[in-house]
């Protein structure tokens, strides 16, 4: 059989194509992004529709519209994207779908690239939507087919919830055949699609009833496996299954094992068998106590006295991600085994290497322009989600807040109403502006907020790997028919002060920033310069040792990774040629390499 190396997200995309997906939508977000970027690359070949949507709510609604007609649709996002899409999801669970609708919501325990460690399995239970929890990329791919079938059988949207260690794990994957679904899709008018309160009540009854039916269906799912061995058992879900297997091997434990691939609604049959045959059960799952809580409920309802351990008695942490080492520690403590600590090695002290803005990043230049215009205490810089969040790091330290997508503008509105004597400047990226910044801007105009909005426009969604957005010339699969300009949007919203400027031109950017700060009412600056990772390469700069006085202003002000101190200050091969350091050097010691 043919085996290929696929990353979990690529495997999920392949699963969707094998299941005959007809519409795919997404907004990028780590660790989910590659699900859709893979689908977008393959859409022309397999003939389905694919779009990068403006945000996750829009993405879900577009996919739902397709599913209303009977088409199979997949929408992908990261866990916090589901918060944005939740308005649509909660109602959609009541209304239901006709064609299969699968949401891929990738969780980020750790977290590695997120503001929260929220558990999408809990969200699924809240919405009343079934959820699959894969342990490996291969299982994730196999679950896609099952998720589409389940969605169509019960008329419910279904969630597939990989975590980082499925999404970004690569595995040798067995490919299946690609099915072309022969179905004619047509939206049929019916009162069932119009959610008035009376229908909502009726559908709520249906949704509650169907939970038990799905749980019964999951009793025989191949993704749930029970192996009874002794009186002590372990129940595990998702990637934690791998860690349990490996830790048990190492500790030479052979407990009864229930592996759960469908954590909500929990299948009662294997769970009850496990509880009935074991005197004690330890639940090992990443993040929240989703399986554990349902087991406790089942045990109580069935008057079973099995001792159930896990998160509630603090054996298993809720925070951070699990690993073989962590699970070993849990098992050693739970089964009272001797510890096998390795002696600690004495290792050289290591410098912190936090993520930071790239050499030549235009955001650095934008931050610099605002940094020195005012006393730092007289101005608040609100930030947003994207590469520029890294502007919070020293030496720039240019972000005072970061909350969620789009919140930079609106937090500034709120603060400006309480502290009118201070200046408020909101930094937001171009993709984030389209995602959820526009309503905040309209709010600022409508309520005459005295704030400066700076769109850091690098012409891409950089942090997640350079996806296009409504302000770029491309769509996911072709050419953008109407490129949207943030400046034009601001003007049409009624902003009187709108400027576009190239942040590499340090003095012009500074003048623009000064004028904006002096103006009253909402102001809007588009700092436009292509992401350095996508731009044409410029000529690098170097420091003339004769002219350099060693003041290190370039290092202290910019924190550019290409400027390094090795006895003397030098510019390394990482230089991208933005020239910002040359423009701020008081001794004109930095010049283009000729």
């Amino acid at each position: 059989m043919q085996k290929v190396l696929l990353m979990g997200n690529e495997a999920i995309a392949r699963g969707a194509i094998e299941a005959g997906v007809m519409v795919a939508t997404a907004y990028p977000g780590t660790p989910s992004t590659e699900v859709f970027s893979t689908l977008a690359d393959l859409a022309p070949e397999y003939g389905f529709y694919a779009e990068w949507s403006v945000n996750e709510k829009v993405a879900l609604e577009v996919a739902a519209g397709a599913a209303y007609t009977g088409a199979r649709a997949m929408v992908s996002m990261k866990q916090m994207g589901l918060n944005v899409a939740s308005d649509a999801l909660m109602s959609l669970a009541y209304i239901g779908v006709k064609g299969g609708l699968v949401l891929v919501v990738a969780d980020d325990p750790g977290p590695q690239s997120s503001q929260t460690e929220q558990d999408t399995r809990k969200f699924a239970a809240f919405a009343g939507v079934p959820v699959f929890d894969p342990a490996t990329p291969q299982e994730a791919k196999d679950m896609v087919q099952a998720a589409f079938e389940l969605s169509e059988k019960f008329g419910l949207p279904v969630i597939l919830r990989p975590t980082t260690r499925v999404s970004h794990v690569s595995q040798d994957i067995t490919l299946g055949d690609v099915k072309k679904l022969e179905r004619s899709c047509h939206f049929q008018r019916d009162p069932r699609w119009v959610i008035l309160p009376k229908l909502a009540y009726k559908q709520h009854i249906w949704l509650d009833r169907v939970q038990a039916e799905v749980a019964e269906e999951f009793n025989d799912s191949p993704f749930n496996r029970l192996s009874l061995k002794g009186k002590a058992g372990i129940v595990t879900s998702g990637v934690a299954y791998n860690y349990v297997l490996e830790a048990c091997q190492e500790l030479k434990l052979e407990p009864s094992l229930l592996k759960i691939g469908t954590p909500y609604p929990l299948p009662p049959k294997p769970a009850l068998e496990m509880l009935a045959s074991c005197g004690q059960v330890l639940v090992i799952e990443e993040q929240e106590a989703v399986v554990e809580d349902q087991l406790i409920k089942l045990a109580w309802q069935n008057r079973l006295g099995t001792a159930i351990s896990g998160k509630h008695d603090s054996y298993v942490p809720r925070e951070g991600e699990l690993s073989v080492d962590k699970v070993k520690t849990v098992l050693i403590s739970y089964f009272n085994l001797p510890r096998d600590d390795m002696p600690e090695m004495d290792v050289a002290p290591l410098p912190l290497r936090a993520p930071g803005l790239c050499a030549g990043c235009p955001h650095r230049a934008s931050f610099l322009a605002f940094k020195e215009l005012m006393r730092r205490d007289d101005v608040v810089f609100t930030g947003d989600i994207g590469c520029y969040t890294l502007g919070a790091e020293p030496p720039l330290e240019m972000l005072d807040t970061c909350l969620c997508m789009g919140a930079g503008i609106t937090l500034a509105v709120g603060m400006s109403k309480i502290e009118p004597e201070r200046k408020h400047v909101a930094f937001i990226g171009d993709s984030t502006f389209f995602h959820s910044g526009v309503p905040g801007l309209i709010d600022a105009v409508y309520n005459n907020a005295n704030i400066v909005v700076v769109v850091l426009d690098n012409g891409t969604t950089a942090m997640t790997g350079h996806q296009p957005h409504p302000g770029t010339a491309r769509t996911a699969t072709g050419v953008n028919g109407a490129v949207l300009d943030p400046g034009e949007i601001a003007r049409s919203c009624g902003v009187k002060f709108v400027r576009e400027v190239d942040p590499y031109l340090v003095s012009e950017m500074k003048t623009c920033a000064r004028e904006a700060l002096e103006f009253d009412g909402p102001r809007f600056i588009v700092a436009r310069r292509a992401c350095v990772l996508q731009a044409d390469s410029l000529r690098a700069y170097s420091i003339d040792a004769e002219l350099c006085t060693g003041c290190e202003l370039c290092i202290k002000k910019l924190g550019c990774p290409a400027i390094v101190k090795n006895q003397v200050v030098q510019i390394s091969a990482a230089c991208a040629g933005c020239g910002v350091c040359a423009r701020i050097c008081p001794s004109q010691a930095i010049c283009e390499v000729v």
């Binding site: 080492d325 993520p355 030496p395």
Partner: protein, 201 residues
């Protein structure tokens, strides 16, 4: 099972290295798992790839003290991953240094001498080389990852031939840089040949 940890700085090409090793192993009938650092940490931050080859594999993350091989793309980042190495494991490390901004700003130090002695303490099977300089000789410093793969390809632990690894690498490099990468790979092979006694285990 063979466990390889690859550590480096975002942008050094650890992803390609992990992928090439995994693909070479699949061609020889092995199961593989790799785990990558993708997202925010890729911007100038520390990155680690885990690669596991064998049969009946489970998760992709290599537990502490279980890596057979630690392949470091940058000196400090090799040391950072040292807790993954098993007793008697092999370390191949680039001695090239990429100064984090924290060092230039003076808020942290970079003690190369102490780092190298940490590596020497961890194992006798240690190969240190300036892969970045070697890659520059081959025609482009960015091919340091391929130099290091060339070194790796000569380890007795690997279940495939160096030519298998080169075949896999070739799928991922542009035809434009193929010659440079081939020279880089061969340079790496020469370095491991000179160090055969160190790594024979």
């Amino acid at each position: 099972m063979l466990n390889i940890v690859i550590s480096g700085v975002g942008g050094q090409g650890t992803l390609l290295a992990a992928r090439a090793i995994a693909e070479a192993a699949i061609c020889k009938g092995f199961e593989v798992r790799t785990s990558e650092t993708i997202g925010m940490a890729q911007r100038e931050g520390s990155v680690v790839s885990h690669v596991r080859l064998g049969h009946n594999l489970n998760g992709a993350l290599i537990p502490d003290h279980k890596a057979d091989i630690l392949l470091g793309f940058e000196l400090a980042e090799t040391v950072r991953a040292i807790g993954k190495l098993k007793p008697g494991g092999v370390i191949i490390s680039n001695t090239h240094r990429i100064m984090p901004v924290s060092v230039s700003l003076g808020s942290a130090g970079y003690r190369s001498d102490k780092m190298i002695s940490s590596l020497a303490q961890a194992t006798d099977r240690l190969i240190l080389l300036d892969a970045t300089q070697a890659a520059s000789k081959a025609g482009g410093y960015k091919s340091a990852n391929v130099v290091l793969l060339g070194v790796l390809s000569g380890l007795p632990e690997l279940p495939f031939h160096p030519a298998d690894l080169w075949q896999a690498i070739m799928q991922h490099v542009s035809p434009r840089t193929r010659q440079i990468n081939q020279a880089a790979f061969e340079l790496g092979q020469r370095i491991i040949a000179e160090n055969r006694n160190t790594v024979s285990g």
